[in-house]
Symmetry: C2
Subunit: 354 residues, 2 copies
């Protein structure tokens, strides 16, 4: 028994809290997302309600966490930032979140991943064939949601639909490159960054751009400016994701080096593979040539990353983009509250632990 | 050596020729389809050029047959039938043909089919992960093509985009049902027809409706009428496909009963399973309970189909829809040439051998 008057010592870092903008839009986003699937009775939609976090595998309603909904939150914030009504951007916010989940459902199949957020993936429960179709269904439902932008006028709907499709195609091309890079140890940092620009960046950039487009009622300099901010935020999000994939384990009760064990191409791995020299380079090649990476080899890769300063180099890459984004945000004429919330959100993405 | 002055006896039926409307639109459709993929350099697009019939697996240009392009042909014909310029409907004709090929690429994975039209399927050559992404890419490229309808005005583009997404979703739901029905021997004729209404019918109906919508510059009675004709043509197309899957082998040099051997749910199979009685019903249940169907059992199923008149019952189902479609075509005010070509096309779908 410990003495309850003195808290036990802890190595846990200070918890980085989600900025208030997420909570502010959570209910509207959640309700709009659920509404898209509510009236659907074919059993395949049970699998989608499960994947979205609203139901258990047997269809029972579930009240667990649903994820941050980063993309819809960015979309509504961008809409507000240019003086728009956030509800007007919900159709496109919903479309992007469903497209994001479509990509996760298919990625799980393509990568053979059996769990995501501690739950079995869709294909594990319903089989690959149904999971492929379920993902496709979700993307089409997102497109149906986007068509509701008609209410904001045909021109805005047409412009937004075009941008959405472009971003989906870019995301898919990024996923193709990610698959094509699997097993390669000679992917350069530049190639890797160009890949995540598409795979992850396209939707995050699109969320910000389209929120701004709907809020402003058409294109223009401020929409272009926010699009560029969205591009930076997408890069920052993925770099931080990659850092957490190596060093973020303890906050989640997992060991350090998880993405090394998985042989996942990520920025720290690509960095060490590109910059290690001589004996270390040969050792890395040997480690990555095998089917599996032993715990002792994970330790060796981590040591080499330490020697090269890989973690702080990665964070520096993200920080440089954040400096650029902050300068751009200051130059845009945004509503004061929205500008502050963009700053909070960007700072959060840079240091988040989950 | 046979005497060349007297042709050898043959059991082959009279060859049913493709009506001229296909050849009339072939070049425009082919060029528009190729243009969508022409400038794409990522290797994944090689897999799509292969699947579309334009290249070999190694990327070499290929000059083989490309398929009938039924859906784009119907789309351009419907556009002409209401007095429109067929070129205006090309964006949507292309979108639908690419969506059709998207569905085939994914269906091949979902069904584990290793060949289509005597060529290895995409996943067999490039792997399942790449094939899933390639299919997704193709659908998105189709959507990009559809966005080109903007040139015809934002309202038409928005209306067409909405209908396209609805049809894609319906097609995907049909594919889900087809997967869900696999292995079941109690699927009713009504359930089966409702499934193919979505899986095959949605795109064919959409091709006719959208061609008419673009040609007429908006919705109206003639567009609704042609949509209903498209619905009938879709049903006729799939029923004839199912008949050919059982009895169409000889014209293609294949044995009778191919779809029985494959244990494929199709209208003749569903018909015999629903209508066989007593000892025959039990025998069918035994035959379909096994993992594979022996050649002798295929013979037995064919005998039972003969006994129930399954083939002519199927053809009668198609003929009844054709009677309805013909009456509707006569009631619509279509251009004389287009009306004649619709009649030729419908007659062809009813009796085609390939």
């Amino acid at each position: 028994m410990t003495d309850s008057s003195t808290p036990p010592p802890t190595d846990n870092p200070v918890v980085v809290e989600l900025p208030p903008v997420f909570a502010r839009h959570q209910a509207a986003v959640g309700a709009a997302l659920r509404a898209e699937l509510e009236s659907k009775t074919l059993p395949i939609y049970d699998s989608l309600r499960y994947y979205m976090g609203w139901a258990d595998a047997n269809g029972t309603r579930r009240h667990g966490p649903e994820g941050k909904r980063l993309r819809p939150t960015l979309c509504l914030l961008a809409c507000e930032a240019v003086g728009g009504e956030p509800a007007d951007a919900l159709p496109v916010a919903v479309a992007i979140e469903l497209a994001h989940n479509f990509s996760l459902i298919h990625d799980d199949i393509e990568d053979g991943d059996r769990t995501r957020h501690h739950r079995p993936t869709l294909w594990v429960i319903w089989g690959e064939a149904t999971a492929i179709v379920a993902g496709n269904n979700l993307l089409a439902i997102g497109d149906m949601a986007a068509h509701r932008l008609r209410a904001a006028g045909a021109d805005t709907a047409v412009a937004a639909g075009h941008i959405l499709t472009e971003r989906y195609l870019s995301m898919m091309e990024g996923q193709y490159l990610d698959i094509a890079y699997e097993g390669r140890t000679d992917v350069t940092v530049d190639e890797y960054l160009a890949m995540i620009e598409r795979k992850t960046g396209a939707l995050i950039e699109g969320a910000v751009e389209l929120g701004a487009l709907v809020g402003a009622g058409g294109s223009g300099d401020v929409v272009d400016g926010l699009r560029a901010v969205g591009d930076d935020l997408g890069r920052i999000f993925q770099i931080r994701d990659d850092v957490l994939g190596i060093w973020g384990g303890p906050a989640l009760g997992k060991p350090i080096g998880a993405d090394i064990t998985r042989k996942k191409n990520s920025l720290p791995v690509v960095h060490v593979l590109e910059h290690a020299r001589d004996a270390e380079k040969r050792e890395l090649q040997r480690i990555y040539a095998g089917d599996e990476i032993a715990a002792s080899d994970v330790e060796r890769v981590l040591e080499m990353m330490d020697g090269l300063g890989t973690q702080s180099w990665c964070q520096d890459q993200a920080a440089a983009r954040w400096d650029r984004a902050r300068a751009r945000l200051a130059s845009l004429k945004l509503s004061t509250d929205a500008a502050r919330e963009f700053l909070e959100l960007g700072e959060y993405l840079l240091v988040r632990e989950v």
